[in-house]
Symmetry: C2
Subunit: 393 residues, 2 copies
């Protein structure tokens, strides 16, 4: 059965912040109304809501936030669904919204995510977020996500025979680049150029990861409006099509031991998206990937097909991840500098790629012509979700 | 665009219990493997998982449970998605699984829900679950769900001019019937006949609701396998088709003040399901509805179209909700007696209707010929979701 083409017709994105006063519902409404206005629509045109949210039960004591969100923009009555797959929550929501439109069931829907991850403060948020590892056998051993990625860094170094010094520098280059582009993202959380030395001399979180290897917790929301091709053509002359979607899960870390530091679920998920889009990695012009920690970026580019295994860090060494390079990566600032409101992050990636395609970002971080973009999100340990976006003009 | 027909080809359902030792993953695996075996399939045939779960982050400190669930039955790698809409979580998951099969994207998927709501004990679970009301403006006033439904009972009595004595007796009759049929459900939590006097003399939870007006918290899982019509016909000679789906949200209680004690979202959601199925309430042979409190049943039957507004309780007074009556309701024992593992409840309703259609339940609670069944679930305050099931043989 043929699916309909589905387009993103508008995007909305709050500033990402730490320690703000706004609730999830308030942040949602800000992003949602911007996306709806950006689509030349009214709230009443929205037929359903797909909302990622991860920690709302803990950060605000608010479960089922989607119902209050829909009501807050005046559209109580629509089906409103919450998706939880840790950091991949919003990408899952958009992927799901995709099928409801592609199938012909709905014509215009709202999808994305919201989070107020900073409300708990970093230590408590880190501990709380550890429940997105296996909570019965692995969390009790003391595992949190900085620890999990630190172990991946050690494993990566050992498995591929990359000296600690070289990997340390590669990781630093990842963070330095993210902070550089993040300087110019007015919606981002951190606006501070850093050097390799800054990264290496910042305080140790969990060896080998220092503070500047780690993304911050953030508050924020990002929403997109999806429409059928027919509706999209009436609403905008710049539709961005979702031409590929992928999702996969991997179970707990110990279940992945044969593959680590590769995340097999990422390989399965992105392959689904590539196959559906009928593209290869070399067709991608811009990537927003899940750099929760600097080592995560290096691991990610390999599974996404942009570097051979054990050679991911070379992309940053050679400057290939910058604008004009072989494959620009996280020129939004990434999770590292733009910020990481967990359940909103995947939607933020989509918003930024759409804006890049439309030449709507700050000139200092505007990519050359972006025809095809890829988003990559990793939830917990993990759920992987990918979207391939294509410029429709 | 025409959607494919989608069938339920197998069901699985753990016992519902209070205070058991099993984790959500263990309960999921029990129900999932039963559903897969019941479908004449192997785990590897499952292409995606749609899992409702509401309180797992609190009850077990386990977020993103769906990833560990998929891994536990040997199918890490598939897309596994968690849905959270309070008590409606599993129905949302099944409705969503429906579209992925109806659209042609997948042929065989697993959907349902799991919860270990009893682990916290009733007082803490009640307080925790209150976060599925509005947490910023209403919960701080002391609102929990027994309080919310107690207020609805007072409002119902006042609005429709039904004396407290009469409504008290109607509510009691609801609970007495649920406990009667629940006696025979071997998968149910409570097995105890009660009388009207028992209900009225049990301890007051929040006026006018006594202990026997309230459903218990429970642990349990229920899963179903959905397949395209083509696949279904190869797997079973007794496919049960999902011919209608509906979902709606209402926002916080105070946003619903014009309608209460009616829940407008229920009316919107069930109408979607009826319209899609092209049926009327009188075509329904069996209903499993959301009797979290006895008053909730009386309110529900009216919005579902089985009684005029203000006359719902008369169905129980006249015995019309029993087997052989005008519209048999909750002959599984309902949430009241069978138990209420929050994120699994909607899937449990589906399992029981499928078994009723196949004459596979205990003879003391087997309905006469069930051709069309309706499930109704209310999440928090609320998200409403409905499914219309049709016997395919």
């Amino acid at each position: 059965m043929a699916l309909r083409k589905v387009a993103i017709v508008g995007v909305g994105h709050t500033p990402f912040t730490f320690g703000g006063e706004k609730t999830s519902v308030e942040l949602f409404s800000e992003a949602a109304m911007e996306a709806i206005n950006n689509s030349n629509l009214k709230p009443k045109d929205i037929q359903a809501l797909y909302c990622g949210n991860c920690l709302g039960d803990f950060s605000e004591g608010q479960g089922m936030v989607q119902s209050y969100c829909a009501d807050d923009i005046g559209i109580a009555g629509i089906p409103a669904t919450r998706f939880e797959g840790a950091c991949a929550s919003a990408t899952m929501a958009i992927r799901d919204a995709f099928i409801w439109v592609a199938s012909g069931f709905y014509d215009i829907v709202l999808a994305g995510g919201v989070e107020t991850a900073s409300k708990m403060g970093t230590p408590l948020a880190t501990r709380t977020f550890a429940m997105f590892t296996d909570s019965h056998y692995e969390y009790p051993s003391g595992l949190t996500f900085p620890g999990a990625f630190a172990m991946l860094a050690h494993l990566y170094s050992a498995k591929y025979g990359i000296s600690f010094e070289r990997l340390r520098r590669q990781m630093s280059l990842v963070s330095v680049q993210s902070h550089h582009y993040g300087m110019y993202n007015h919606l981002g959380q951190l606006h501070k150029e850093i050097t390799v030395e800054d990264v290496e001399k910042s305080f140790m979180v969990t060896s080998p990861l220092t503070l500047y290897d780690c993304c911050p917790f953030s508050d924020g929301a990002a929403m997109v409006v999806l429409a059928s091709e027919e509706k999209a053509k009436k609403l905008t002359d710049k539709p961005v099509y979702i031409i590929g979607v992928g999702q996969s899960s991997s179970g707990k870390y110990s279940a992945q031991y044969k593959y680590l530091p590769r995340l097999r679920a990422r390989e399965l998920s992105v392959q689904q998206a590539y196959d559906m889009a009928d593209i290869k990695p070399e067709d991608v012009d811009l990537v927003e990937l899940h750099d929760c920690f600097s080592i995560a970026s290096i691991i990610a580019v390999e599974s996404l097909g942009f570097a051979d295994f054990g050679h991911g860090g070379e992309l940053w060494e050679k400057g290939e991840t910058k604008i004009g390079g072989k494959i620009p990566i996280n020129i939004s600032g990434g999770l590292k500098s733009k910020g990481h409101p967990i359940g909103a992050t995947g939607a933020s990636q989509v918003c930024d790629i759409v804006k890049q395609m439309k030449y709507e970002v700050e000139p200092q971080r505007q990519a050359e012509e972006v025809k095809i973009g890829l988003t990559d999100t990793l939830g917990g340990d993990g759920v992987l979700a990918h979207l391939v976006l294509q410029r429709g003009w």
